[in-house]
Amino acid sequence: MFMKIILFVFCYPILPIMYFIIKNELEPHKNIILGVTLPSDELRNPKVKEIISRAKKSMRRIAIVLALLPFTSLLTKYDSIVYAIFITWITVLCFIFFLPFMKGNLQLHKLKKEQNWHLDEEGTTIVDLKVTLEEPNPLSKYWFLPAIVLTCIPIIIDLCTITSKDSNLLSLATTTLVGLVTFLCPFLFHIAYKTKQEIVSQDSLRNQTLTRIRRYNFGKCFIGLSYTNAIYTILFWLYINHYIDSIILFLIITLLYTFFLLWWVLRAEFKVRLAQQQFSIQSEDSFTADEDSYWIYGLLYYNPNDKHLIVPKRVGLGTDMNYAKPAGKVFGVIIALIILAMPISAIGLIQSEFSPLLLTIDEESITAKHFHTTYGIDFDDIKTVETWDELPNISKDNGTGFSTLCKGTYSIAGNGSCTVCFNPTNHLFIVITKENDKKYVFSGSTDKKTEEVYNILITKIP
């Protein structure tokens, strides 16, 4: 039940966020609608409005179906199936709203061709010389320094206290991974100031101002992201090293972190959008470069003549890659693989949950086996053996945790860190302490099986 709540709280908001971001693209901005550049006076054309209306209806229908799907997870008690439902749902969410968008894009392109709505600057790259004269660097990079220092503190502590213990290495690896986002921000900040200019008019002052607004707001966005991530890195480190014990608190912190990440990006994007709208409306000589030929379905940028690797997105928030460049192609493949790996990981998880828990004993050792994991202890290494009929409080350090399986390294109240492989719904557990004082907690699939093995085990131990 706990897992279901977590998945609902963390995953469900993705649906309205994706829906509203894509729906927002059905409104014109800078003469671009559904990823197609149209002359200003054709944006309200009834045929254009009809295409947009159909796309909106289609999106609404999809949203309703997708809103109901996660509730099917309430019908099952198996964590892996709940996870599979959500992960498949998220995978579908990644692309499904783009389908009506792509259909609308094709229809609008066809209409544009039929009506001969071609703009003068079709298929060209426009550069404003006056805007290019300005050195694009109003915000100082030194703003990132405190965030970088904050992020380095837990990593340095881990490096100074490093031992061969798994938990130390895990803390260092995961904290560094989380902290990477902070280190990425100055790089993205630098990229933000090298992105294309905002050209909306023949008037260079308008273009200059709009370009400055975009660069400044995204510069601030990356500074904000770096501080948010720095604070989260420290809190994450505190949790992974058990200074924060409550998983609920940690999940709330993670939720807030995600919220603030989104807030920084949305804030920047909508400030820029508002400025674009205002400047386009005010301009008597409004101007829009038609780069439709470089955007596949209005979504993916493919321009082999443009050496920019990162460009402002046409649809959605933030930036996109130039998929004509080798790095862009590699990035695209990696993203596609990650998206495909998500539902495949669910298959692995289902296999894991439905694999039997085996506790066996032979002449020399006791073995607990589940799926691909085997824990074996030779009798000669055993110091003491006892049983528990009730499990103390446990929390996972690393490993697997289903409602019917705990496997891996767990912290058990009064016993420290233990290697476990048991069914937590059982009422009988074998606790083995080795000569090196390392503790193992095992059980069979049922109490009966556990008792059988225990009875044999105590005859084998001197």
């Binding site: 600057e121 298929g123 060209t124 790259t125 426009i126 550069v127 404003d128 010389l129 006056k130 805007v131 290019t132 004269l133 050195e135 090298k194 294309k196 200019q197 050209i199 023949q202 260079s204 101007f287 470069a289 321009n303 003549n305 443009d306 050496k307 920019h308």
Partner: protein, 123 residues
């Protein structure tokens, strides 16, 4: 002043940059002494190679439309309006253009009328 670069055109990009800067100087959009962007900035902003921009600037400098040095960067050169001599290069380009119009079947008076119209636009 907007530069419009058409990558599908047969005209090389450096030539397009050169042509449009000359037209802008003639139109008065760029005045003598006006600063031009650095090669790096223009290449970064337009997404084209620095060598392409450099070639365009070199050509403009050779033809006397701009001045360029390390300290001051590239600037629009002062105009030498007193000279009545027609440069050989322009003479040859005009000859080629006239040949092309002739082959298209355009009559002399039509051609001259067009020349007058375009020349008056330059101001």
């Amino acid at each position: 002043m907007l530069l419009s670069l058409d990558f599908s055109s047969d005209i090389p990009i450096y030539q397009q940059i050169r042509n449009q800067i000359i037209i802008a100087i003639s139109d008065g959009k760029l005045l003598p002494g006006d600063q031009l962007p650095t090669i790096r900035n223009l290449a970064d902003q337009s997404g084209i190679n620095m060598m392409t921009v450099s070639k365009a600037y070199q050509l403009l400098k050779q033809e006397g439309y701009i001045t360029a040095d390390r300290r001051n960067g590239a600037k629009v050169a002062p105009r030498n309006v007193s000279s009545s001599e027609i440069p050989r290069v322009l003479h040859n380009e005009l000859q080629l253009l006239i040949s092309q119009f002739h082959l298209q079947g355009v009559k002399e008076d039509q051609f001259l009328s067009l020349c007058k119209e375009l020349y008056n636009k330059e101001g």
